[in-house]
């Protein structure tokens, strides 16, 4: 008798509901492909059933292999070709048959990614709100209708009694001629460059005359530097990687010409990135041929654990978070067990990594720079620093001593009223300027100076031939100007307190600081401080990071094996090789966006026409970007101008940001932010406030190029590619079938608006841009081609057998995603076999041995100057105080408002901390039932001493309250509130005076509560609603009142400073 399995019954079953959610349409996915059982083989382990791609359960993005069974992702393991999952990793040339038999390691989230892709709450069709924003009422609408409405604008919500006319892209794509936009941008640059107020005004008047035909397209003709109305279109994102980033650029920047494309960096570790930027600025030629500080990278360094002997982890959660457990944990467990590596953990919470640590030091939150300053004092006093390295004042000097980098610590600083004013320049001493040739032109520049043999000597930072070795500690007068070296200033700053004094500020023992300093200076260059968001997400975050980074410079460990290292990735844009597809040059009508951004970044407030004295209405960020917390409140306030159409991509500002309820408030009123369109896979905590939610592809269904992390010394570029059939429904754009996705939305809008850069000859080389793969396969082709014009460093071509396996492994993908002919055409026939080779391996990864170079250096070097004195900071002003930014590492007191005023919050006694446990990634992993089975809820961790003092018991329910949230609630808008209540857990592993909760729980959306689609209630899953999310207790800035606290220098939002109370809840 033939048995009918439940599986087969399923195929016969009828689909109920509207099919808007995946769960209602799961059986549609049961596409029986030809995949069958092969006698004697474990079929999911075979190469023809494996696709190599990249995880995105967190941003570590481990390269993975997705093992398929009848087209279903049945198991995910690590891709052993990569340093993430195997150590040492296998060489790229490994044959794919062998490769299939080796699995690399992966964390539990990576293992559970299948449940992200097949989450029953995933949306498959476009949802349009059927009630006020945030009401949880939706109707599904055809994709084409959504595209038309977003493009054209109109009374989209008249049927629910809302007579407003919603803006459409057509109107705000105001300036469409790139030449006009370029001319306007140049005119605005001139306005900003003019310091004289009257002359500045005259330039504004000239702008109005020169562009009189276009004034209607400007946001405010009297303030042309706000830019055109195009800037009133904004796109903001959470997790966005290369590929999709450029896809967004193509549409929003190159196409629509808006300057408002902003990421989420400051909610992660913005101040860490922007410390890296300040320290990597180079004194050289900028893009316009001007000799100035330029080229600072938004990046940071981390420790090379492959060779380090001693590591100090500051606010870095190595076993559970960071970048990331599979990548870094193995080095620590092996090293600590075999004795080749020791590490210390600085964290107020006893994170899991204290288990293998030589020392756990738990400072008061936000005071860790005091520990670093104490170490600095000890190191200067004991003469335990790398004087040889620090003495190199320029590139030639570094070369002479076989170093790859150098610092400006020996450069002279001009003092004013006892304070560092800026770098001393030759002209200050009446010395002649230097002349340099650049691009065939002679350029003059005013060089900095160092002190050599009792005399000031000019320093040409990038000179390959004239080495300057400056004295380290200089304190003198030159031509009546008081000057000091940067290192002298650091030494003096470190002597501001005794070791005991610094220890007291941090709430630690002086002996702890001494231990750290001694150990740190006992391993040559194989000792390193590795800093992450625990140090960065404070009001003093920038200076915390700068102080720890400075310590690394003091032992000269930059670019050294076991030292302070940076990420290296292979180019995907084709710029380095100049092809095969130089995507930076392939847009036929690229719009040069200009104007003040909505978050007021990268520009000096004083230079703009809206300068109105200090303090500014809201902060400006001349040295940071992607200031996430400022986006929605600024848009709602209309400062510097209102935002009319806001696109959201894969983020959750309401859930992820401190004081997230302020972000909700900003989104509620359509009169404040005109139209909100969101792209995501599930209706989450933030996008529930959108007007439209357009379903997206999960990480297992789409393209991206994941990039790398600072601790990875190998040059790499993992590829994310479609591994399973798409979940969202299929639509037609440009005559091509494709799944609804972020890409389909933008392609659909481009088609509707007839934007240049899309269609049959969308690329300026005449190639078509009609499908997402038309774009991504060009990037894949670039990656496979290599970085040399002759492609001599490209990947090999796939053999016939490899091509066969490549095709077989994709036999479950529908033509809307994979079509061999179309992919080949998109990549170019000539490059196809290289692309196959690349995709068969999930990217490109440098061989293990090749990351190590001679002289104990790493091969993929930073190789530039590291600033210990930040001249750009010194010469710019904090727009809230009107005072210059402090230009060196130091310790500032945490918990300040935007005006730099100390906050106290009397009556609130505990400092609120957050952390990651390895089973959750903030807003988007609660759908993973395999993970919630391990930790079904989270807790408020409290030291048992505090609990006793407060009379709290284990498992007791408490409400979290703070000075700006005394009721302890989430205000969700529309009269809905969620109490902020959680369970206390008594532990020893936390510094008394603090309370910590792990992120990822306490959801109010994302399938945790009921929503209504087409009048039908979709029940929420109580497993997704457990635990507490206490971000709404985090301090709202008392001056701005609509946003959390921020680091005004580095841009970071503040996570670890708010004073709270735990109030017992009856029952």
């Amino acid at each position: 008798m033939q048995e009918v399995s439940r599986r087969e019954l399923l195929k016969l079953g009828t689909v109920i509901g509207s099919g808007a959610l995946l769960g209602e349409a799961a059986s549609l996915l049961q596409t029986a492909s030809a995949q069958g059982m092969v006698e004697g083989k474990y079929e999911i382990q075979l190469p023809e059933n494996t696709i190599y791609t990249s995880c995105l359960q967190c941003n570590t993005g481990c390269p993975v292999k997705v093992k398929l069974y009848e087209g279903v992702a049945s198991k995910i393991d690590g891709n052993p070709l990569t340093p993430w999952t195997l150590y040492p990793h296998l060489p790229l040339k490994t044959g794919i048959t062998q490769l299939a038999k080796v699995d690399g390691s992966l964390c539990p989230k990576g293992q559970a990614g299948i449940q992200t892709a097949y989450d029953p709450y995933r949306i498959r069709k476009v949802l349009k709100r059927a009630g006020p924003r945030g009401s949880g009422k939706w109707v599904e609408i055809p994709f084409e209708q959504a595209v038309a409405e977003i493009a054209k604008g109109g009374k989209h919500f008249a049927d629910i009694g809302d007579q407003r006319t919603y803006p459409g892209l057509e109107e705000y794509w105001a300036i469409r001629d790139p030449k006009v936009m370029k001319a306007m941008g140049d005119a605005v640059s001139a306005i900003w460059g003019e310091k004289d107020k009257t002359k500045k005004q005259a330039l504004v008047e000239k702008f109005k005359t020169d562009f009189k035909d276009y004034l209607g397209a400007m946001i405010d003709p009297d303030h042309p530097d706000l830019g055109p109305k195009n800037n009133q279109i904004a796109v903001i994102w959470g997790r966005l990687k290369a590929g999709r980033r450029e896809f967004l650029d193509w549409f929003f920047a190159n196409g629509l010409g808006t300057t408002n494309m902003h990421g989420h960096t400051t909610v992660c570790q913005g101040s860490l990135y922007f410390t890296g930027k300040a320290m990597s600025e180079q004194l050289t030629y900028d893009g316009k041929g001007k000799y100035t500080w330029t080229g600072g990278d938004k990046f940071y360094w981390q420790g090379d654990l492959s060779k380090a002997e001693f590591v100090i982890f500051v606010g870095a959660n190595l076993f559970e978070g960071n970048y990331g457990p599979p990548l870094r944990v193995g080095r620590l467990t092996q090293g600590t067990v075999d004795g080749s590596l020791k590490y210390a953990v600085i964290d107020p919470r006893g994170q899991k990594a204290i288990k293998n640590a030589a020392k756990w030091i738990a400072p008061k939150p936000g005071t860790d720079a005091a520990i670093a300053m104490g170490m600095m004092r000890w190191m200067f006093e004991q003469d335990r620093f790398d004087a040889r390295f620090l003495g190199a004042s320029n590139k030639a000097a570094a070369k002479q001593i076989k170093e790859a980098t150098w610092t400006n610590g020996s450069w002279l600083v001009k003092m004013k009223d006892g304070q560092p004013e800026r770098l001393l320049r030759a002209s200050d001493l009446g010395l002649p300027k230097l002349k340099k040739t650049h691009d065939g032109k002679e350029v003059e520049f005013d060089p900095p100076l160092a002190f050599v043999d009792g005399k000031p000597v000019v320093v040409d930072p990038n000179s390959e031939t004239t080495a300057v070795f400056g004295e380290l500690f200089v304190n003198t007068k030159l031509s009546d100007i008081s000057v000091k070296s940067g290192l002298q200033l650091l030494k003096e700053e470190s002597r501001k307190y005794t070791l005991e004094g610094w220890a007291k500020l941090a709430g630690v023992q002086a002996s702890d600081i001494e231990y750290l300093a001694k150990e740190f200076t006992s391993h040559g260059k194989k000792a390193v401080v590795d800093v992450h968001r625990g140090a960065s997400q404070h009001t003093n975050g920038f200076y915390n990071c700068a102080t720890w980074f400075t310590l690394n410079a003091l032992v000269g460990n930059l670019d050294h094996q076991g030292g302070f290292v940076k990420a290296s990735t292979y180019d995907v844009m084709g710029g380095k090789a100049g092809g095969p597809y130089d995507l930076g040059k392939l847009h036929p009508a690229k719009m040069p966006a200009f104007g003040v951004s909505m978050i007021r970044h990268g520009i000096k407030y004083e230079d703009t026409t809206i300068f109105a004295g200090y303090p500014a209405k809201r902060p400006w960020y001349p040295h940071a970007s992607d200031v996430y917390q400022e986006i929605l409140p600024s848009a709602a306030q209309g400062y510097p101008y209102p935002i009319k159409i806001m696109f959201h991509y894969m983020g959750s500002p309401a859930y992820s940001l401190p004081a997230g309820h302020t972000q909700i408030q900003a989104m509620l009123d359509p009169d404040k932010i005109g139209l909100i369109v969101a792209s995501d896979i599930v209706v989450g905590e933030s996008y529930m406030y959108a007007d439209y939610i357009v379903p997206d592809l999960s990480y297992l269904e789409r393209w991206e190029f994941q990039g790398s992390h600072p601790s990875v010394i190998w040059k790499v570029q993992p590829v994310r590619q479609p591994a399973i059939a798409p979940i969202p429904e299929t639509v037609k754009v440009f005559g091509e079938e494709m799944p609804i996705s972020m890409e389909a939305l933008l392609l659909g809008l481009a088609e509707k608006l007839a934007m240049p850069g899309y269609g049959d000859k969308g690329f300026s080389n005449g190639m078509a841009f009609k499908r997402p793969d038309d774009f991504y396969l060009k990037m894949a082709a670039n990656l496979a081609f290599g970085e040399k014009a002759d492609s001599s460093d490209g990947v090999p071509e796939a053999s016939d057998d490899e091509v066969k396996v490549f095709l077989a492994a994709r036999r479950h993908l529908p033509a809307s995603v994979f079509d061999e002919t179309k992919w080949k055409a998109a990549a170019g026939e000539a490059h196809w076999r290289r692309v196959v080779y690349l995709l068969n391996r999930g990217g490109r990864f440098q061989e293990f041995e090749k990351a190590y170079a001679a002289d104990d250096l790493i091969a993929n070097k930073y190789g530039k100057q590291m600033n210990l004195f930040f001249d750009k900071q010194a010469t710019s002003k904090n727009p809230m105080t009107g005072k210059p930014y402090y230009p060196l590492a130091t310790y500032f007191t945490p918990y300040q408002d935007v005006l730099g005023q100390q906050l106290r919050d009397p009556g609130y006694g505990l400092t609120l901390l957050t952390y990651r446990q390895i089973t959750q990634t903030k807003s988007r992993t609660i759908a993973n039932y395999w993970l919630t089975a391990i930790h079904p809820e989270n807790y408020l961790l409290l030291n048992a001493l505090d609990a006793e003092r407060l009379g709290l018991k284990d498992e007791q329910q408490v409400r979290v309250t703070s000075a700006t949230n005394p009721k302890g609630i989430w205000d969700l808008g529309n009269g809905n509130f969620k109490p902020m209540i959680g369970k206390v857990k008594l532990v020893q592993g936390i510094r008394p005076g603090n309370v910590a909760f792990s992120l990822g729980y306490g959801h109010w959306a994302y399938g945790s509560s009921d929503i209504e689609i087409n009048g039908q209630v979709i029940k929420g899953d109580p497993r997704r609603a457990t635990g507490i999310h206490a971000n709404a207790a985090m301090r709202v800035d008392p001056v701005l009142k609509d946003v959390s606290l921020s680091d005004l220098t580095g841009g970071s939002v503040v996570f670890y400073e708010t004073k709270v109370n735990l109030v017992p809840v009856a029952g």
Partner: protein
């Protein structure tokens, strides 16, 4: 019913030289040819004392310990007298639960069934605090109390040391559950992860066949595990293919080791000889095949 088996229960005995050659061609050479320099293999075998786990210094790291163990599994498959053992180095366990989840994914475990839980314990008083994480798979005891408890002969001790369950014979009476001092056995009550959601327990990954014990079966079929008692099989279906058990493979701290304890050159054999080795609940007389380094 035997058609659904993709591999015989007991490992093949390789009698003739030809068989052996064919075996080698199929497994060992296909995996490692070209991956690892022959010298590295020779060195690893010649100098067992310098195993990465025991004394390896990073300068000398030539290959990931996973590759060595996988090679040893393939070698063991040629040894009819092999006895599988597992060693868990508690010093290297970071309590990440990757093994737990990886096992759930690999063996399609439903809610309520877990083969390899990891317990977490905080030890000490602030500021002298540490943690202990203890993974606990089935101990594959040499004197397993669960086996005699089964009234249906549905569970037995294999020659290779693994305690097996035959789902065709198991009736889910649960009599084997209480005798196990390690709580290694759980009953599959037929739940699905997305029951009570719009997915109704029918999401694609919930419909996949199970490969446990080397038998490919639908979960709800007669030879499948639903309504039966389940436990860790050391991923028999993987090791018979020359792969490591999932928990070993995915361990990010490289804390779990696996191999043939009868092969003195194997990593597990070396580790079992370490002075800091122990077994759980030794006093129960179960003779576990899972060892811990402390």
């Amino acid at each position: 019913m035997d058609q659904s088996r993709y591999r015989v229960k007991e490992p093949p005995i390789l009698s003739s030289t030809e068989d052996r050659r064919a075996f080698l061609a199929k497994f060992a050479s296909t995996v490692f040819a070209g991956l690892v320099a022959p010298g590295a293999i020779a060195q690893a075998q010649a100098q067992p004392a310098q195993s990465p786990a025991a004394s390896g210094v990073k300068e000398g790291v030539k290959e990931d310990v996973l590759l060595r163990m996988q090679r040893e599994v393939e070698k063991a498959l040629q040894n009819p007298k092999r006895k599988w053992s597992m060693v868990i180095d508690l010093r290297k366990c970071v309590g990440c639960h990757a093994c737990t989840v990886s096992c759930v994914a690999e063996n399609r475990l439903p809610p309520g069934v877990v083969y390899r839980p990891v317990s977490e314990r905080e030890i000490g008083v602030y500021p002298n605090v540490t943690y202990r994480f203890v993974p606990q798979p089935c101990m594959q005891c040499d004197d397993p109390p669960c086996v005699p408890a089964c009234p249906y002969d549905a569970t037995w001790k294999r020659n290779d040391g693994i305690v097996e369950i035959d789902y065709l014979k198991c009736v889910g009476c649960d009599k084997c559950i209480p005798p196990c001092p390690y709580g290694a056995r759980t009953h599959d009550y037929g739940d699905f992860w997305t029951d009570k959601t719009p997915g109704k327990g029918e999401m694609p990954y919930e419909q996949l066949p199970v490969y446990e014990w080397g038998i490919k079966a639908e979960r709800e079929a007669d030879n499948g595990p639903m309504d039966k008692v389940r436990k860790c099989s050391f991923c028999l279906h993987r090791i018979s293919q020359g792969l490591l058990p999932q928990c070993v493979n995915t361990c990010i701290g490289r804390a779990t080791f696996f191999g043939d304890a009868t092969d003195p050159s194997s990593l597990v054999a070396e580790l079992i000889k370490q002075p800091n080795v122990m077994r759980l609940k030794e006093e129960k007389g179960t003779n576990p095949r899972v060892y811990y380094l402390v």
